[in-house]
Protein backbone atom coordinates (compact mmCIF):
# COMPACT_ATOMS: atom_id res chain seq x y z
CA UNK A 1 0.00 0.00 0.00
CA UNK A 2 1.59 3.27 -1.07
CA UNK A 3 2.13 6.01 1.47
CA UNK A 4 2.68 9.72 1.34
CA UNK A 5 6.40 10.45 1.70
CA UNK A 6 7.24 12.02 5.05
CA UNK A 7 9.59 15.02 5.10
CA UNK A 8 13.10 14.11 6.21
CA UNK A 9 14.47 15.17 9.60
CA UNK A 10 16.49 17.94 7.96
CA UNK A 11 13.52 19.24 6.03
CA UNK A 12 11.40 19.19 9.13
CA UNK A 13 13.98 21.06 11.17
CA UNK A 14 14.36 23.61 8.39
CA UNK A 15 10.61 24.29 8.16
CA UNK A 16 10.28 24.52 11.94
CA UNK A 17 13.23 26.81 12.43
CA UNK A 18 12.06 29.11 9.67
CA UNK A 19 8.62 29.25 11.26
CA UNK A 20 10.22 30.10 14.58
CA UNK A 21 11.54 33.19 12.82
CA UNK A 22 8.09 33.80 11.30
CA UNK A 23 9.24 32.84 7.84
CA UNK A 24 7.44 30.42 5.55
CA UNK A 25 9.29 28.62 2.80
CA UNK A 26 7.22 30.22 0.06
CA UNK A 27 7.67 33.70 1.54
CA UNK A 28 4.06 34.18 2.58
CA UNK A 29 2.97 35.85 5.79
CA UNK A 30 1.75 33.41 8.46
CA UNK A 31 -1.87 34.34 7.79
CA UNK A 32 -1.69 34.68 4.00
CA UNK A 33 -3.32 32.41 1.45
CA UNK A 34 -1.69 31.09 -1.69
CA UNK A 35 -3.02 32.44 -4.99
CA UNK A 36 -6.66 31.50 -5.46
CA UNK A 37 -8.14 30.92 -8.87
CA UNK A 38 -11.79 29.98 -9.27
CA UNK A 39 -13.03 29.06 -12.73
CA UNK A 40 -16.36 27.71 -13.88
CA UNK A 41 -17.20 25.23 -16.62
CA UNK A 42 -19.48 25.68 -19.61
CA UNK A 43 -22.31 23.93 -17.79
CA UNK A 44 -23.82 25.26 -14.59
CA UNK A 45 -22.52 23.83 -11.35
CA UNK A 46 -18.91 23.03 -12.23
CA UNK A 47 -16.29 24.91 -10.24
CA UNK A 48 -12.56 24.37 -10.46
CA UNK A 49 -10.57 25.88 -7.60
CA UNK A 50 -6.82 26.23 -7.58
CA UNK A 51 -5.25 27.13 -4.30
CA UNK A 52 -1.57 27.35 -5.07
CA UNK A 53 -0.83 23.89 -6.39
CA UNK A 54 -3.83 22.27 -4.76
CA UNK A 55 -6.67 21.78 -7.21
CA UNK A 56 -10.22 20.67 -6.53
CA UNK A 57 -13.13 20.36 -8.95
CA UNK A 58 -16.72 20.12 -7.78
CA UNK A 59 -19.66 19.20 -9.92
CA UNK A 60 -23.26 19.67 -8.81
CA UNK A 61 -25.98 17.57 -10.39
CA UNK A 62 -29.66 17.11 -9.64
CA UNK A 63 -32.12 14.31 -10.29
CA UNK A 64 -35.65 13.59 -9.10
CA UNK A 65 -35.99 10.91 -6.42
CA UNK A 66 -38.35 9.73 -3.70
CA UNK A 67 -37.71 11.35 -0.30
CA UNK A 68 -36.77 9.41 2.83
CA UNK A 69 -39.98 8.07 4.40
CA UNK A 70 -39.30 9.87 7.70
CA UNK A 71 -38.51 13.18 5.98
CA UNK A 72 -41.32 13.72 3.54
CA UNK A 73 -40.78 17.44 3.02
CA UNK A 74 -37.02 17.42 2.63
CA UNK A 75 -35.01 17.02 -0.52
CA UNK A 76 -31.84 14.96 -0.58
CA UNK A 77 -28.39 16.52 -0.60
CA UNK A 78 -25.37 14.24 -0.81
CA UNK A 79 -21.70 15.06 -0.86
CA UNK A 80 -19.36 12.56 -2.47
CA UNK A 81 -15.61 12.97 -2.09
CA UNK A 82 -13.21 10.63 -3.72
CA UNK A 83 -9.48 10.84 -3.45
CA UNK A 84 -8.18 9.31 -6.63
CA UNK A 85 -4.58 8.60 -7.66
CA UNK A 86 -4.89 11.78 -9.76
CA UNK A 87 -4.28 13.80 -6.61
CA UNK A 88 -1.33 11.88 -5.26
CA UNK A 89 0.24 8.44 -5.83
CA UNK A 90 -0.52 7.68 -2.17
CA UNK A 91 -4.25 7.42 -2.80
CA UNK A 92 -5.68 4.14 -3.93
CA UNK A 93 -8.75 3.44 -5.98
CA UNK A 94 -11.67 1.97 -4.11
CA UNK A 95 -10.16 2.22 -0.64
CA UNK A 96 -11.68 4.84 1.59
CA UNK A 97 -8.95 6.67 3.44
CA UNK A 98 -9.27 8.52 6.74
CA UNK A 99 -8.64 11.79 4.97
CA UNK A 100 -11.60 11.16 2.72
CA UNK A 101 -13.95 10.51 5.61
CA UNK A 102 -12.59 13.55 7.46
CA UNK A 103 -13.15 15.73 4.41
CA UNK A 104 -16.68 14.64 3.59
CA UNK A 105 -17.73 14.86 7.25
CA UNK A 106 -16.47 18.40 7.59
CA UNK A 107 -18.16 19.49 4.37
CA UNK A 108 -21.37 17.77 5.36
CA UNK A 109 -21.47 19.56 8.70
CA UNK A 110 -20.53 22.86 7.13
CA UNK A 111 -23.10 22.81 4.36
CA UNK A 112 -25.91 20.54 5.43
CA UNK A 113 -26.06 20.60 9.18
CA UNK A 114 -25.65 24.37 9.23
CA UNK A 115 -28.71 24.57 6.98
CA UNK A 116 -26.75 26.46 4.34
CA UNK A 117 -28.72 24.62 1.74
CA UNK A 118 -32.36 24.41 2.68
CA UNK A 119 -33.44 20.86 1.84
CA UNK A 120 -37.07 21.90 2.18
CA UNK A 121 -36.70 24.06 -0.92
CA UNK A 122 -35.80 20.90 -2.84
CA UNK A 123 -39.20 19.30 -2.15
CA UNK A 124 -41.43 18.99 -5.22
CA UNK A 125 -44.40 16.77 -4.24
CA UNK A 126 -44.45 16.05 -0.50
CA UNK A 127 -43.72 12.40 0.22
CA UNK A 128 -43.37 11.48 -3.45
CA UNK A 129 -40.91 13.52 -5.41
CA UNK A 130 -37.98 15.66 -4.31
CA UNK A 131 -34.81 16.92 -5.93
CA UNK A 132 -31.81 14.81 -5.10
CA UNK A 133 -28.86 17.17 -5.22
CA UNK A 134 -25.40 15.73 -5.44
CA UNK A 135 -22.03 17.38 -5.10
CA UNK A 136 -19.17 15.32 -6.52
CA UNK A 137 -15.87 16.59 -5.24
CA UNK A 138 -12.87 15.55 -7.31
CA UNK A 139 -9.52 16.20 -5.71
CA UNK A 140 -7.19 16.67 -8.66
CA UNK A 141 -4.00 17.73 -6.95
CA UNK A 142 -3.18 17.35 -3.26
CA UNK A 143 -0.65 19.97 -2.14
CA UNK A 144 -2.03 20.84 1.28
CA UNK A 145 -5.17 22.45 2.71
CA UNK A 146 -7.68 20.26 0.92
CA UNK A 147 -10.45 21.27 3.30
CA UNK A 148 -10.47 24.93 2.33
CA UNK A 149 -10.05 24.19 -1.38
CA UNK A 150 -12.90 21.66 -1.33
CA UNK A 151 -15.22 23.94 0.60
CA UNK A 152 -14.45 26.85 -1.74
CA UNK A 153 -15.10 24.70 -4.81
CA UNK A 154 -18.33 23.28 -3.40
CA UNK A 155 -19.70 26.63 -2.28
CA UNK A 156 -18.79 28.30 -5.58
CA UNK A 157 -20.40 25.45 -7.53
CA UNK A 158 -23.56 25.51 -5.40
CA UNK A 159 -23.89 29.26 -5.77
CA UNK A 160 -23.39 29.08 -9.51
CA UNK A 161 -25.62 26.04 -10.10
CA UNK A 162 -29.04 26.53 -11.69
CA UNK A 163 -31.65 23.86 -11.10
CA UNK A 164 -34.39 23.24 -13.73
CA UNK A 165 -37.59 25.18 -13.10
CA UNK A 166 -40.69 23.17 -12.22
CA UNK A 167 -44.40 23.75 -11.85
CA UNK A 168 -47.25 21.71 -10.38
CA UNK A 169 -50.73 21.88 -11.89
CA UNK A 170 -53.46 19.57 -10.63
CA UNK A 171 -50.95 17.28 -8.96
CA UNK A 172 -48.96 16.93 -12.18
CA UNK A 173 -45.32 17.88 -12.02
CA UNK A 174 -43.67 19.54 -15.02
CA UNK A 175 -39.90 19.94 -15.23
CA UNK A 176 -38.87 22.55 -17.77
CA UNK A 177 -35.83 22.26 -20.01
CA UNK A 178 -33.48 25.26 -20.11
CA UNK A 179 -35.00 26.20 -23.49
CA UNK A 180 -38.53 26.42 -22.09
CA UNK A 181 -37.73 28.24 -18.88
CA UNK A 182 -34.54 29.61 -17.45
CA UNK A 183 -33.21 27.35 -14.67
CA UNK A 184 -33.30 28.90 -11.21
CA UNK A 185 -30.57 29.38 -8.58
CA UNK A 186 -30.59 27.19 -5.45
CA UNK A 187 -31.94 28.55 -2.19
CA UNK A 188 -28.82 29.02 -0.08
CA UNK A 189 -29.47 30.57 3.30
CA UNK A 190 -25.88 31.52 4.02
CA UNK A 191 -22.46 30.90 2.55
CA UNK A 192 -20.16 29.07 4.96
CA UNK A 193 -16.50 28.27 4.24
CA UNK A 194 -13.90 26.19 6.06
CA UNK A 195 -10.50 27.43 7.19
CA UNK A 196 -7.74 25.13 8.39
CA UNK A 197 -5.21 26.46 10.88
CA UNK A 198 -2.09 24.45 11.56
CA UNK A 199 -0.35 25.11 14.83
CA UNK A 200 3.23 24.87 16.04
CA UNK A 201 5.10 25.45 19.31
CA UNK A 202 2.29 24.09 21.53
CA UNK A 203 -0.33 26.13 19.75
CA UNK A 204 1.59 29.38 20.17
CA UNK A 205 1.99 29.81 16.45
CA UNK A 206 -0.83 29.38 13.96
CA UNK A 207 -0.53 29.38 10.21
CA UNK A 208 -3.29 29.62 7.62
CA UNK A 209 -3.41 27.62 4.38
CA UNK A 210 -0.54 25.23 5.10
CA UNK A 211 1.20 23.48 2.24
CA UNK A 212 1.49 19.71 2.40
CA UNK A 213 4.97 19.95 3.88
CA UNK A 214 3.93 22.43 6.55
CA UNK A 215 0.94 20.24 7.30
CA UNK A 216 3.18 17.23 7.82
CA UNK A 217 5.49 19.17 10.13
CA UNK A 218 2.73 20.74 12.23
CA UNK A 219 1.62 19.58 15.67
CA UNK A 220 -2.01 19.49 14.66
CA UNK A 221 -4.77 21.35 12.95
CA UNK A 222 -7.98 23.11 13.80
CA UNK A 223 -10.75 23.40 11.23
CA UNK A 224 -13.15 26.30 11.65
CA UNK A 225 -16.19 26.76 9.43
CA UNK A 226 -17.99 30.08 9.49
CA UNK A 227 -19.96 32.38 7.23
CA UNK A 228 -19.03 35.96 6.31
CA UNK A 229 -21.61 37.20 8.86
CA UNK A 230 -19.32 35.79 11.53
CA UNK A 231 -21.51 32.85 12.59
CA UNK A 232 -19.40 29.81 13.40
CA UNK A 233 -20.75 26.53 11.96
CA UNK A 234 -18.07 24.13 13.10
CA UNK A 235 -14.88 23.95 15.12
CA UNK A 236 -13.03 20.69 14.84
CA UNK A 237 -9.78 19.58 16.31
CA UNK A 238 -9.17 15.93 15.63
CA UNK A 239 -6.02 14.70 17.32
CA UNK A 240 -2.69 16.48 17.41
CA UNK A 241 -1.03 18.18 20.36
CA UNK A 242 -2.98 19.98 23.04
CA UNK A 243 -3.88 23.66 22.71
CA UNK A 244 -5.04 26.24 25.17
CA UNK A 245 -8.72 27.24 25.06
CA UNK A 246 -7.73 30.87 24.51
CA UNK A 247 -5.64 29.85 21.51
CA UNK A 248 -8.69 28.13 20.09
CA UNK A 249 -10.72 31.30 20.53
CA UNK A 250 -8.05 33.28 18.76
CA UNK A 251 -8.07 30.72 15.95
CA UNK A 252 -11.81 31.19 15.50
CA UNK A 253 -11.28 34.94 15.32
CA UNK A 254 -8.61 34.62 12.64
CA UNK A 255 -10.72 32.14 10.71
CA UNK A 256 -13.76 34.42 10.61
CA UNK A 257 -11.61 37.19 9.15
CA UNK A 258 -10.28 34.80 6.53
CA UNK A 259 -13.78 33.57 5.64
CA UNK A 260 -14.78 37.15 4.88
CA UNK A 261 -11.73 37.51 2.66
CA UNK A 262 -12.47 34.28 0.78
CA UNK A 263 -16.17 35.10 0.52
CA UNK A 264 -15.25 38.19 -1.44
CA UNK A 265 -13.06 36.13 -3.77
CA UNK A 266 -16.01 33.83 -4.49
CA UNK A 267 -18.31 36.83 -5.01
CA UNK A 268 -15.91 38.34 -7.52
CA UNK A 269 -15.51 35.05 -9.42
CA UNK A 270 -19.29 34.58 -9.61
CA UNK A 271 -19.79 38.15 -10.78
CA UNK A 272 -17.22 37.69 -13.52
CA UNK A 273 -18.83 34.44 -14.60
CA UNK A 274 -22.34 35.88 -14.70
CA UNK A 275 -21.09 38.82 -16.77
CA UNK A 276 -19.51 36.39 -19.21
CA UNK A 277 -22.72 34.36 -19.54
CA UNK A 278 -24.88 37.43 -19.86
CA UNK A 279 -23.92 38.36 -23.40
CA UNK A 280 -25.64 41.54 -24.56
CA UNK A 281 -27.41 42.03 -21.22
CA UNK A 282 -30.21 39.55 -22.00
CA UNK A 283 -30.67 38.39 -18.43
CA UNK A 284 -31.68 41.86 -17.19
CA UNK A 285 -34.47 41.87 -19.73
CA UNK A 286 -35.64 38.35 -18.95
CA UNK A 287 -35.44 38.67 -15.19
CA UNK A 288 -38.68 39.01 -13.27
CA UNK A 289 -36.88 40.50 -10.27
CA UNK A 290 -37.71 44.13 -9.62
CA UNK A 291 -35.96 46.71 -7.53
CA UNK A 292 -37.83 47.46 -4.36
Amino acid sequence: MPREAEPSINERAFVLQALEENIRLDGRALDAFRDIDISFGDDYGVADVQLGKTRVLTRISASIAAPYPDRKFDGVFTIATELSPLASPAFEVGRQSDLETHLSRILETTLRRSQAISTESLCLVAGQKVWSLRADIHILSHCGNLVTAASLATLAALRQYRIPDTSIKGGELTVYTPLERDPVPLALLHHPLCITLNYFENGEKMIVDATLQEQQCSEGEVVVAANPQGEVCLVQKGGGGEVDALVLLRAVDVAVGKVRELGKVVDRALEKDSKMRDKGGISAELSAENER
Binding site: M1, R55, P85, L86, A87, S88, L140, S141, C143
Partner: protein
Protein backbone atom coordinates in the same frame (compact mmCIF):
# COMPACT_ATOMS: atom_id res chain seq x y z
CA UNK B 1 -11.09 21.86 -31.75
CA UNK B 2 -8.98 19.28 -30.00
CA UNK B 3 -6.56 20.67 -27.46
CA UNK B 4 -4.01 18.88 -25.27
CA UNK B 5 -2.24 20.17 -22.16
CA UNK B 6 0.49 18.01 -20.69
CA UNK B 7 1.22 17.84 -16.94
CA UNK B 8 -1.57 20.06 -15.59
CA UNK B 9 -1.37 18.21 -12.25
CA UNK B 10 1.52 18.59 -9.83
CA UNK B 11 1.48 15.39 -7.82
CA UNK B 12 0.88 12.74 -10.47
CA UNK B 13 3.94 11.40 -12.29
CA UNK B 14 2.36 12.15 -15.64
CA UNK B 15 -0.87 13.86 -16.53
CA UNK B 16 -2.73 15.27 -19.49
CA UNK B 17 -5.85 17.23 -20.19
CA UNK B 18 -7.67 16.64 -23.48
CA UNK B 19 -10.46 18.95 -24.60
CA UNK B 20 -12.56 18.44 -27.70
CA UNK B 21 -16.09 19.53 -28.66
CA UNK B 22 -17.00 20.70 -25.17
CA UNK B 23 -15.85 17.45 -23.53
CA UNK B 24 -12.87 17.57 -21.24
CA UNK B 25 -10.92 14.61 -19.91
CA UNK B 26 -8.11 14.65 -17.41
CA UNK B 27 -5.84 11.64 -17.07
CA UNK B 28 -2.97 10.83 -14.74
CA UNK B 29 -0.38 8.10 -14.58
CA UNK B 30 1.61 7.04 -11.52
CA UNK B 31 4.46 4.65 -11.69
CA UNK B 32 6.41 2.65 -11.04
CA UNK B 33 4.63 1.94 -7.73
CA UNK B 34 3.94 -1.10 -5.63
CA UNK B 35 1.52 -3.46 -7.33
CA UNK B 36 -1.45 -4.97 -5.57
CA UNK B 37 -0.87 -8.58 -4.57
CA UNK B 38 -3.68 -10.01 -6.69
CA UNK B 39 -2.42 -8.27 -9.85
CA UNK B 40 1.20 -9.22 -9.36
CA UNK B 41 3.02 -10.96 -12.21
CA UNK B 42 6.66 -11.62 -11.34
CA UNK B 43 8.10 -10.84 -14.76
CA UNK B 44 5.65 -8.34 -16.13
CA UNK B 45 4.41 -4.89 -15.34
CA UNK B 46 0.84 -4.58 -14.17
CA UNK B 47 -1.22 -1.69 -15.44
CA UNK B 48 -4.19 -0.68 -13.37
CA UNK B 49 -6.62 1.56 -15.21
CA UNK B 50 -9.23 3.45 -13.22
CA UNK B 51 -11.79 5.46 -15.14
CA UNK B 52 -13.87 8.05 -13.38
CA UNK B 53 -15.93 9.79 -16.01
CA UNK B 54 -14.35 8.76 -19.35
CA UNK B 55 -11.14 7.63 -20.99
CA UNK B 56 -8.26 9.85 -22.00
CA UNK B 57 -5.27 10.03 -24.25
CA UNK B 58 -1.65 10.98 -23.91
CA UNK B 59 -0.81 10.86 -20.21
CA UNK B 60 1.76 8.10 -20.55
CA UNK B 61 3.81 10.38 -22.76
CA UNK B 62 4.41 12.90 -20.01
CA UNK B 63 5.36 10.29 -17.39
CA UNK B 64 8.43 9.35 -19.41
CA UNK B 65 7.40 5.71 -19.60
CA UNK B 66 8.91 3.93 -22.60
CA UNK B 67 6.19 3.04 -25.10
CA UNK B 68 6.47 0.92 -28.21
CA UNK B 69 3.89 3.16 -29.90
CA UNK B 70 1.33 5.83 -29.21
CA UNK B 71 -2.31 5.42 -30.04
CA UNK B 72 -5.32 7.54 -30.81
CA UNK B 73 -9.01 6.67 -30.82
CA UNK B 74 -12.18 8.19 -32.19
CA UNK B 75 -15.94 7.74 -32.09
CA UNK B 76 -18.01 7.81 -35.27
CA UNK B 77 -21.76 7.55 -35.73
CA UNK B 78 -23.63 6.57 -38.90
CA UNK B 79 -26.79 8.50 -39.71
CA UNK B 80 -29.93 6.94 -41.13
CA UNK B 81 -29.12 8.12 -44.66
CA UNK B 82 -25.76 6.36 -44.47
CA UNK B 83 -23.76 9.54 -43.80
CA UNK B 84 -20.74 9.27 -41.53
CA UNK B 85 -20.54 11.76 -38.66
CA UNK B 86 -17.26 12.11 -36.73
CA UNK B 87 -17.31 13.37 -33.10
CA UNK B 88 -21.09 12.98 -32.74
CA UNK B 89 -23.11 14.94 -30.21
CA UNK B 90 -25.57 13.30 -27.81
CA UNK B 91 -28.42 13.95 -30.26
CA UNK B 92 -26.43 12.46 -33.13
CA UNK B 93 -25.87 9.33 -31.07
CA UNK B 94 -29.55 8.94 -30.36
CA UNK B 95 -30.47 9.28 -34.03
CA UNK B 96 -27.61 7.08 -35.28
CA UNK B 97 -28.25 3.65 -36.77
CA UNK B 98 -24.86 2.44 -35.67
CA UNK B 99 -21.89 3.76 -33.69
CA UNK B 100 -18.27 2.72 -33.95
CA UNK B 101 -15.18 3.18 -31.81
CA UNK B 102 -11.87 2.74 -33.58
CA UNK B 103 -8.34 3.05 -32.25
CA UNK B 104 -5.18 3.28 -34.34
CA UNK B 105 -1.52 2.93 -33.47
CA UNK B 106 1.01 5.53 -34.57
CA UNK B 107 1.99 3.16 -37.42
CA UNK B 108 -1.55 3.39 -38.71
CA UNK B 109 -2.55 -0.13 -37.66
CA UNK B 110 -6.05 -0.73 -36.42
CA UNK B 111 -5.97 -1.73 -32.74
CA UNK B 112 -9.56 -1.76 -31.50
CA UNK B 113 -12.94 -1.81 -33.19
CA UNK B 114 -16.20 -1.76 -31.32
CA UNK B 115 -19.32 -1.40 -33.41
CA UNK B 116 -22.88 -1.29 -32.27
CA UNK B 117 -26.13 -1.22 -34.28
CA UNK B 118 -27.10 -2.26 -37.78
CA UNK B 119 -24.71 -1.57 -40.68
CA UNK B 120 -23.36 -3.12 -43.86
CA UNK B 121 -19.76 -3.94 -44.67
CA UNK B 122 -19.67 -1.01 -47.11
CA UNK B 123 -20.68 1.40 -44.37
CA UNK B 124 -18.00 -0.03 -42.12
CA UNK B 125 -15.36 0.51 -44.79
CA UNK B 126 -16.44 4.15 -45.00
CA UNK B 127 -16.29 4.49 -41.22
CA UNK B 128 -12.84 2.89 -41.17
CA UNK B 129 -11.52 5.28 -43.82
CA UNK B 130 -12.91 8.31 -41.98
CA UNK B 131 -11.59 7.18 -38.60
CA UNK B 132 -8.17 6.52 -40.05
CA UNK B 133 -8.20 9.97 -41.55
CA UNK B 134 -9.08 11.54 -38.20
CA UNK B 135 -6.60 9.58 -36.14
CA UNK B 136 -3.70 8.91 -38.42
CA UNK B 137 -4.00 11.52 -41.14
CA UNK B 138 -3.13 10.16 -44.55
CA UNK B 139 -5.37 7.71 -46.38
CA UNK B 140 -4.01 4.29 -47.14
CA UNK B 141 -3.54 5.04 -50.84
CA UNK B 142 -3.02 8.75 -50.41
CA UNK B 143 -1.41 9.37 -53.80
CA UNK B 144 -4.56 8.22 -55.55
CA UNK B 145 -7.02 11.01 -54.88
CA UNK B 146 -5.48 14.29 -53.97
CA UNK B 147 -8.74 16.13 -53.49
CA UNK B 148 -9.48 13.96 -50.46
CA UNK B 149 -6.20 14.81 -48.80
CA UNK B 150 -6.98 18.46 -49.48
CA UNK B 151 -10.23 17.94 -47.62
CA UNK B 152 -8.48 16.52 -44.63
CA UNK B 153 -6.39 19.67 -44.21
CA UNK B 154 -9.28 21.21 -42.29
CA UNK B 155 -9.58 18.29 -39.87
CA UNK B 156 -6.79 18.30 -37.35
CA UNK B 157 -5.38 14.82 -37.07
CA UNK B 158 -5.43 13.57 -33.53
CA UNK B 159 -1.96 12.18 -33.87
CA UNK B 160 -0.65 15.60 -34.88
CA UNK B 161 -2.41 17.24 -31.93
CA UNK B 162 -0.68 14.77 -29.65
CA UNK B 163 2.67 15.20 -31.35
CA UNK B 164 2.39 18.97 -31.16
CA UNK B 165 1.59 18.91 -27.44
CA UNK B 166 4.61 16.71 -26.72
CA UNK B 167 6.85 18.81 -28.95
CA UNK B 168 5.85 21.99 -27.14
CA UNK B 169 6.43 20.43 -23.74
CA UNK B 170 9.83 19.07 -24.69
CA UNK B 171 10.80 22.43 -26.16
CA UNK B 172 9.77 24.18 -22.95
CA UNK B 173 11.65 21.69 -20.79
CA UNK B 174 14.82 21.85 -22.83
CA UNK B 175 14.98 25.60 -23.26
CA UNK B 176 18.03 25.66 -20.97
CA UNK B 177 19.84 23.62 -23.60
CA UNK B 178 19.30 26.25 -26.23
CA UNK B 179 22.42 28.32 -26.77
CA UNK B 180 21.97 32.10 -26.52
CA UNK B 181 22.87 32.40 -30.24
CA UNK B 182 20.12 30.10 -31.42
CA UNK B 183 17.66 31.70 -29.02
CA UNK B 184 18.38 35.08 -30.57
CA UNK B 185 17.64 33.87 -34.09
Amino acid sequence: MANVTLSPLYRADGSANFTSNGCSVIAAVNGPIEVQRRDELPEEAAIDVAIRPAAGVGALLSASIPLSMTLTATLISVKENGGVAPSPSAQDLEAATSIHVLAFSSHGDLLVVESEGYFTMDTWEKVYAKARLICHGEKEEDSENEDLSMDSEEDTKLEDVLRDAVRQKVAAEYRWKQSPDSAAT
